[in-house]
Amino acid sequence: METSSGESMLLNPAPRLASFRRHLNRPVDILPLAVFRIAFGALMFASTLRFMLNGWIDALYVQPQFHFSYLGFEWVKPLSGGGMTAIFIATLILSLCIMLGFVYRSAIALFFILFTYIELLDQATYLNHYYFVSLVSFLLNFMPAQRYLSLDARLRPQLKTRYAPFWCILALQLQLALVYFFAGFAKLNEDWLLHGRPMAIWLKANTGIPLIGPLFDYNWIALALSWAAAAYDLTIALWLSWRRARLPAYATVIVFHLLTAMLFPIGVFPYVMIAATLIFFSGGELRSALNRVGFRLAPLPRRAVIPHMRPSTAAKLILILFFVMQLILPLRHYLYPGDANWTMEGYRFAWRVMLNEKAGFATFYLADRTAGKTQVVYGSQYLTPQQLRHMSYQPDMILQFARYLAAQHPYAGQRELAVFAEVYVARNGAPSKLLIDPEQNLLEASRDIFSAPWILRY
């Protein structure tokens, strides 16, 4: 019998571990997983192609003379122009393979490696939805998503099955639920809930939109939309998990993400989420919808050979660790003093999306103490506009740039150098303030996972 995948788990958690295991491993319709794979591959293909056609390989990975690394990943470096183009062409082909379910196992593994490599190249290109893509492509490595509606299943019929273990569907649903929940949780702050900021700022910059645009000048609209967005993020996974609410909830998903696509330049993210949330639909729901638009998908056979579906112990451990990390990372900012929206400590990899309208202006002072001279430097002399924008309000990137500046000095290593930065940051409509201690020699500051004492708390 077919059951809706998420709801029984959420509403009736099994009391005993053995029963829980059985519950996770029970076979369910593979169609949602296959649809997810196809949609994911198609969107990654479109996204990668768009990236290449916009000339962003060159702009983001070839032209910059300096790249901002992630702590611990300083060794990840871009290849030459030709090498980066080859990486993107490979990603494009792999996306196609994922969509078609062709040599899927190798394709998804390589896709995860290449995509994550690209994302690790420069902190200035960080986007939450690219992080999401990395996570999803990692999870897909453990799932038999190619065993239905795929070339692999067609070429090797013994591979084909109409069933997948429930945990596969659940893991993807859980990943999406975590994204939405933490995105909503991060919105529970004074600026968002009491002042409607930064929503008000963004809406007022978009009053030119036909028909609804003039409404955006009203602060109460920004406040109402802020609350609606927080409520949406916090609860949408629950609504989608509940079969009776699923259809209107999915309509809300579409409206919400199309609205964000209209208001903000966030690329393919809205479409990724609209496609990914299809994983909440049951196989029966998807099949009936697809058959209605002309597909001819056979109903799920009642008696079929159900393949062995238990993951290996190693896979289980990796997945458990994966989700534990997914719970810890978004909350780690509580370990740092001050507001993460200002300090940016613990901000990344935490689904803190659309929380800030920030702009910074940084002046660097490179002092040659041996010669007794100081020169004024601006990031624009070394960085791309995108890098400059991101660096101007992120202490970790400011520190990296300060070190780079010193390394570029003609007497680097021979003279005593110091780098100071005066950085003013304006956030969510509040007057600009100094972000870091302008008296701090950034060359003496350490870069590690601990809180930076030279950041001025808001």
Partner: protein, 375 residues
């Protein structure tokens, strides 16, 4: 149970449909309410800054062409002085509209009027060459060999006396080049006017229509603010920071000063600041609608004062500090480094409320890619 849930689902569907409809209705109703009209602001900038600036440059470039003609007819010290003054006036007028290279065609026109650094070697090659020098010939040569910097090269000198400059115009090719250059500038000036004009290519109308600054990456507000940022940064680092040594190793390098022959570099920077302040205020009159009013409408504050007032004060300080300096920049970087440091700091201080506060309030995107929408 099933029957009890159905009304609930119907209510949810109804709410789902009603919400966008009610937003639409409220949006239509809101059109009648007070709000800040960004298109009116752009219209004000066009009417009070851009179009008058173009007219002024048109006049100045025609006067430059006529002063060149007069000088060539009667090459006296007075005529040279009038010509040099005409160049300064044209140059001042130009620098006030130089910021408006807002699309590819405008950039092409702008480059042909003022592209730095000039290619002196090619200019000398033209003078020593054999091609007939006419205005169409000048129109066809590269941007770095013509325009205002090329005329400056011909009629100003760092180490020659006025008499020697006049003598150099005994060369018929130099005479022909001067005239053709001046005529070509006048032609470009009229092409720019035509490009913006409602009777011509109607760029002004397109500029005003593209009024979005958030979702619309190429919005006019975004473009203008970005132009201001880029011009301020260039003036500060390249035209003051490098020759003064503030942005390098502390050593003054007068040879790096822009428009060094005419000694007009600081005046150029002052004209840029004047133009930027006019854009910011939407003109010169109190009632002109500009970014100042937009920021006031948004309630933007800076140190407990309206942000617009702080920005205007910093514009005024920067302009005043330049105007107070009587020396040309090339001399000042050597003889009055403390005054140059003060000018530098005033312009830097102006950048803080512009690039941090104003940018944040207006949600301006610096990069023209959507790679950084959600952080």
């Amino acid at each position: 149970m099933r029957a009890a849930r159905q009304p609930f689902i119907l209510v949810m569907i109804a709410l789902g449909m009603l919400t966008p409809l009610s937003m639409l209705a409220l949006g239509l109703a809101a059109q009648a309410q007070d709000s800040f009209d960004r298109r009116a602001m752009l219209q004000s900038i066009v009417d009070n800054v851009i179009l008058p600036g173009q007219l002024a440059f048109n006049d100045a470039s025609n006067q430059l062409a006529s002063a060149a003609q007069d000088f060539l007819s009667e090459p006296t010290a007075t005529a040279l002085s009038i010509l040099q003054q005409a160049w300064r006036s044209a140059s001042d007028a130009w620098e006030q509209i130089a910021i408006f290279d807002l699309d590819l065609r405008l950039t092409s026109y702008h480059n042909q009027i003022d592209k730095t650094p000039p290619n002196y070697e090619f200019i000398d090659a033209v003078l020593q060459g054999a091609d007939e020098i006419t205005e169409p010939y000048v129109n066809g040569i590269g941007s770095t060999s013509k325009g205002l910097p090329a005329i400056e090269y011909l009629i100003f000198s760092i180490d020659s006396t006025p008499a020697e400059i006049i003598d150099s115009f005994a060369d018929p090719r130099r005479r022909a080049f001067l005239l053709a250059l001046a005529q070509n500038i006048a032609r470009k000036a009229s092409q720019i006017t035509d490009y913006w004009s409602p009777d011509g290519r109607q760029y002004a109308a397109r500029f005003i229509k593209a009024d979005q600054s958030g979702g619309e990456l190429q919005g006019s507000i975004n473009m203008l603010v970005n132009k201001i940022f880029v011009m301020l940064a260039t003036d500060l680092q390249m035209w003051i920071g490098e020759p003064s040594g503030i942005a390098t190793d502390g050593e003054a390098r007068p040879q790096l000063v822009e428009a060094r022959r005419s000694g007009h570099s600081l005046r150029h920077i002052a004209q840029h600041l004047i133009a930027m302040q006019r854009i910011f205020n939407g003109g010169t009159a109190e009632e002109d609608l500009g970014f100042d009013d937009y920021l006031d409408f948004l309630g933007a504050m800076f140190d407990d004062r309206p942000l617009s007032a702080v920005i205007n004060e910093r514009f005024a300080s920067a302009i005043a500090s330049i105007e107070a300096l009587e020396l040309p920049l090339a001399a000042a970087v050597v003889e009055a480094p403390q005054d140059i440091a003060a000018i530098y700091e005033n312009i830097r201080q102006l950048q803080i409320p512009l690039r941090a506060d104003m940018k944040s309030h207006l949600s301006i995107l610096i990069t023209l890619s959507d790679r950084d929408g959600d952080q």
